[in-house]
Symmetry: C2
Subunit: 258 residues, 2 copies
DNA sequence: CGTCAAGAAAGTGTCGACACTATTGCGTTC
DNA sequence: GAACGCAATAGTGTCGACACTTTCTTGACG
């Protein structure tokens, strides 16, 4: 435990390869992205205590930007901070996630309603065309792309609500549930439903049918929630398999992304 | 559920609004509270660039905890961070505030609805009795107490929704609009309405009238919004008058003590 | 054998310093 | 006299160091 900080730890950080020793390339940001990635991929496990020094070493930066990133992640709910003991990975509980989904549903439904009231025809049409440009090859893309586009779709609605605070909140929530959504999408259990739901939502938007649209959205998200239950089991597996000694994959190329 | 309503420890105004994550160690916490106070009191003015070194000196601590506090405040929307130029006080615009109120309305209405569905009779009664214990001398208290109790009332509803994420969001929002609410309350323009509204809301809660209750809430908050317009004028005055020092002067003991 | 305590080790919280960047002030050119 | 560029200054971003706190180790005591 004490003698090999290099061999075992070395968390994959195939980040923007900057061959130069340019020290002023916003380390904080890099740390933030890297750590969040570790959290999403469960290389940092729920409830685990986060070791700042180890992180700093593995990212080859000092603890200061690490701490800044962790503070940010704490405000966003990814980790928590206990006074003299440091940062801990937020626990992964089903109910916690469901609470988040519920909040997301609330906010998105409200956004949709506001969009119906306020957005111009052009704006609504931009939503339509965004989705139209996507729907064809939607299912054939890598999970991360699907995820990004799905998020984008929902965020677009939030933007058309005209209330930037709604956008912010939604994006904060998205960031926190992204890890589970990715797993869900890998399941690919309800692609068709997703596509159909989005199309239906767009239709409702065009008709400015606030009631119908919010109902669709609610159902859409509810469906996702139930899929979440499934995904969570996978997630837990992942957590434990990526734990101490996973003989299968330890280092080398990142496991699942790209 | 798991959230015992017993944990009513008095919301002190200078207190953090984030219940869950962080009770940072001494300096950081102190910096956070101090800076937030400066923001609330407009000793740091909207759009102004924040000078970390000056703050550090005036609080007699190093820049590190200052930065940690600022990062936190940035995540919470009080300030913004521009890459190599530092932190800036968030601009004070009417529409920004209205967006926040709108979001608040959305979240509170949803909370009320969920409370109607989920809270036990005892829990609802705790809401009723909290308000009952308050209503008598409500108007005769100092503004800060009124504010705290008003917030508490609304947060209580959020807690009874059973969704802690809702509570968090509401408290984050409250923290950001508190400064203007304080000014509003000093106006005392619609006390009676406020008392009446709360009472009506409690009644609706007892009857589990989700529709009626959310409507009341929406109206209640809308009323507040229109009062906000008034208050904003005051706020702007305050901004400019509290800055006796011309922006030119940048040295010396600029930030007055607490 | 298990409990506990003292000391060692590990780790966080804060500091002062320094490199690099943005801004300000000044002198030069047209 | 104004625009431009260049030097000086102020300020941020990051670092390594250190003090203090928590956690682990080890050895004495019941």
């Amino acid at each position: 435990m004490k003698n090999s900080p290099e061999t075992t730890d070395h968390i994959a950080l195939a980040e923007t390869a900057e061959p130069e020793t340019r020290r002023s390339a916003d380390s904080s940001e890099r740390a933030y992205n890297a750590i969040r990635k570790l959290l999403v991929e469960f290389q940092l496990k729920p409830e685990e205590r986060i070791n700042e020094m180890r992180l700093a070493k593995s990212l080859s930066i000092s603890r200061t930007p690490i701490r800044e990133a962790l503070n940010r992640l704490a405000s966003e709910g990814f980790v928590s901070l206990t006074p003299n003991r440091g940062f801990f990975v937020r626990s992964l509980s089903t109910e916690g996630l469901i609470d988040l989904y519920e909040l997301r549903s609330i906010i998105e439904c409200a956004a949709f309603r506001l969009m119906c009231e306020r957005a111009s025809d052009d704006e609504i049409d931009s939503l339509r065309s965004y989705w139209a440009g996507l729907v064809e090859g939607y299912r054939d893309q890598p999970p991360d792309d699907i995820l990004a586009e799905d998020e984008r779709f929902h965020v677009l609605i939030a933007e058309l609500s005209g209330n930037p605070e709604i956008v912010n909140q939604l994006q904060a929530i998205n960031a926190r549930i992204r890890f589970i959504r990715r797993i869900q999408i890998e399941h690919r259990s309800h692609d068709k439903d997703l596509v159909a739901a989005h199309s239906a939502i767009v239709d409702a938007a065009i008709k400015r049918d606030a009631e119908g649209g919010t109902e669709l959205l609610r159902k859409h998200i509810e469906l996702t929630v139930s899929a979440t239950q499934e995904a969570l089991k996978d997630a837990l597996l992942k957590v434990y398999s990526s734990a101490d000694q996973s003989p299968r994959q330890r280092r080398g190329r990142a496991a699942s992304n790209t």
